[in-house]
């Protein structure tokens, strides 16, 4: 059975229309109109133990609302949501002991006291036995290089340092699922990389299931095998990243760097590709060929070109995951 099961999950917000001015405020007291906003619209998915899933979507797509329902902060309007046989918002005491949560936007540590004091209080809250706590802390400390910052109050930490501490704080009680909402937001490349490696390691070695939202698609590409895309509260894609590439085929292209000037029209005639393949003369020495996956494979194109003309260098351009996702979003809107 799957670890996380989501079936026909909905979250509807009622938004009160506020009337302006003093008179409006008085009217608001007695009579309120409201709009319904469907933040999450009938979504279903299931996640198995040990998976590392990326959950992406543009701002306001319903990502955070989903994560907040999964973590028990919000109560679903309707639908089924079970994690590890528990209903998050109903069995909050038992459930919160089994999950770790990190919000990139706000810390869960105590702002004014040294990091280590926060950890000690968490040990008490989660009733972690001393030896297990010591063991886990020393392991994470080494992995994330926390030793120099453990005695500094949280407010004096840099964003990257704080993020590393927040991650450790969320893992001290040995959760089986870790939810991360934009864990690398605002971090520099080194900070991102260190967190990425850490997540990969705990997923692989400790078997912790990880669900992460992010706007950084490179992160998803590097970390996650599975991707769930959401927009306007609905799931657009759920599957692996290669599958996404294949489904949303974009034009790929090959650029040939030639050894000598060439006659474009002549070459075009000789190659005689079908109409899906577009040739383009970039300059005297460069030829670009655009094609889609279905029309021809790249090897065939290269083979044909080399037969006709002497080539110095070849560059194949893949559409980036960013372009693909960008296209999905814009398709939804139109």
């Amino acid at each position: 059975m799957a670890l996380i099961e989501v079936e026909n999950l909905n979250k509807v917000y009622k938004n009160f229309k506020r009337k302006e001015g003093l008179k409006g405020a008085l009217i608001n007291l007695f009579y309120r109109e409201h709009d319904e906003i469907r933040a999450v619209d009938d979504i279903s998915f299931s996640i198995n133990s040990g998976e590392l899933v990326g959950y992406i979507g543009p701002n306001g797509a319903g990502k955070s609302t989903t994560i907040k329902m999964l973590t028990g902060i919000l109560i679903p309007t309707s639908g089924r949501l079970v994690v590890n046989n528990l209903i998050p918002y109903k069995q909050r005491y038992d459930y919160t002991k089994q999950i770790g949560v990190v919000f990139g936007q706000r810390t869960q540590l105590w702002w004014d006291i040294p990091v280590i004091e926060s950890f000690k209080l968490l040990r008490k809250i989660y009733q972690i036995p001393k030896d297990i706590y010591d063991d886990r802390l020393s392991k994470f400390k080494d992995l994330l290089d926390l030793d120099p910052i453990l005695n500094i109050p949280v407010r004096k930490l840099s964003l990257g340092q704080r993020m590393r501490c927040d991650l450790v704080a969320s893992l001290l009680h040995n959760p089986s699922v870790l939810f991360l909402d934009e864990p690398t937001i605002g971090l520099d490349i080194i900070g991102k990389l260190s967190i990425r490696q850490f997540l990969e390691k705990i997923n692989r070695e400790l078997g912790i299931t990880i669900i992460l939202t992010t706007h950084d698609l490179k992160e998803i590409e590097a970390l996650c095998k599975r991707l769930i895309t959401i927009d306007h509260g609905k799931i657009l894609y759920d599957g692996d990243i290669d599958g996404l590439r294949n489904r949303y085929t974009l034009d790929r292209s090959i650029t040939f760097q030639l050894l000598e000037n060439f006659d474009f029209d002549n070459l075009k005639e000789k190659l005689n590709f079908n109409s899906d393949v577009k040739l383009e003369k970039l300059d005297q020495l460069r030829l670009k060929i655009n094609f889609s996956n279905e029309s021809l494979n790249p090897a065939k194109i290269i083979e044909n070109v080399i037969k006709e003309i002497e080539v110095n260098d070849i560059a194949i351009e893949e559409p980036s995951i960013e372009e693909i996702v960008g296209r999905i979003y814009s398709e939804r809107k139109s």
Partner: protein, 268 residues
């Protein structure tokens, strides 16, 4: 259930220790807070002196000294409340509107407990010196006798008073879950506290009823004081004090728990 209670009790001390560490991080702030707190209380004393010194009137059969005693008594539960429940004032803004309640819901602890424990206002306890001074003076004038038993009952009653305030303001704070508002009902109800500092019999019938059975502030200072003033007229109400305290806190917690189900968090 019992285990959970003891876990929370244990954690109350852990949280308090944590909070004191935070205060020590800002030593100057703490000292300044204590000094201004003391100054404020001295000013209050002078003000009371001016208010009561020149008059020898009795209000509604209550002598000046008796009213002074009730006033002095009222300072104790109020300052205990200020010391241990100050965060209720921030529930609407800091926790609900700004979404910090997310963090509260992610921990395996009672949500009200966590909110209360995240801020303690130790300076408020200084105010009890003023209350003590007033009670000592009034007791002397009225020739009241203090026994160990009376002292224990006194401590019990001021704690009950704190929980009566605590329950009422927990309920009021919880309304912000339905109608997110930065201050809301808090301010008008805070003003109601003043009514509890004087004999409830001086008010009209409607207000008396409200202060006894709806917002039971009469049980915070007035009824307990009558016990120490050896008035037998209100004996039945004195016995009710612990029950009112328990009831107030229970109603507050029920409304709070209902409210948490309406929490809507913030965008991302």
């Amino acid at each position: 259930m019992i285990r959970r209670f003891f876990l929370h009790l244990d954690l109350a001390f852990a949280y308090l220790a944590q909070f004191m560490k935070t205060r020590m991080e800002y030593k100057a702030d703490l000292i300044l807070g204590l000094v201004t707190g003391l100054l404020f209380q001295l000013i209050t004393l002078v003000f009371i002196d001016v208010l009561f010194a020149k008059q020898s009137i009795t209000i509604n059969f209550w002598t000046k000294e008796q009213i002074l005693f009730i006033y002095g008594f009222s300072i104790f539960p109020l300052n205990l409340f200020f010391a241990f429940f100050p965060n209720l004032y921030n529930v609407g803004s800091l926790y609900i509107i700004e979404g910090n309640f997310d963090r509260i819901l992610l921990r395996p602890l009672n949500s009200l407990f966590q909110v209360l424990m995240e801020k303690v206002d130790i300076e408020s306890l200084i105010g009890m010196f003023v209350g003590g001074a007033i009670i000592c003076y009034a007791s002397g004038e009225l020739q009241l006798e203090w026994t160990i038993l009376r002292l224990i009952i006194f401590l019990l009653m001021i704690v009950c008073g704190m929980f009566i305030y605590g329950g009422v303001f927990t309920a009021v704070a919880a309304f912000s879950f339905w109608w997110p508002d930065r201050v809301g009902l808090m301010a008008p109800l805070f003003n109601m506290i003043t009514f509890g500092k004087y004999p409830v019999t001086i008010y009209n019938r409607l207000l008396q009823y409200i202060l006894m059975w709806i917002i039971p502030f009469a049980f915070v200072a007035f009824f307990p004081s009558t016990y120490f003033l050896n008035s037998t007229e209100f004996r039945n109400y004195v016995v009710l004090i612990p029950i009112v305290a328990l009831g107030s806190m229970t109603v507050g917690m029920i409304i709070w728990n209902l409210g948490t189900h309406h929490y809507e968090s913030t965008g991302s």
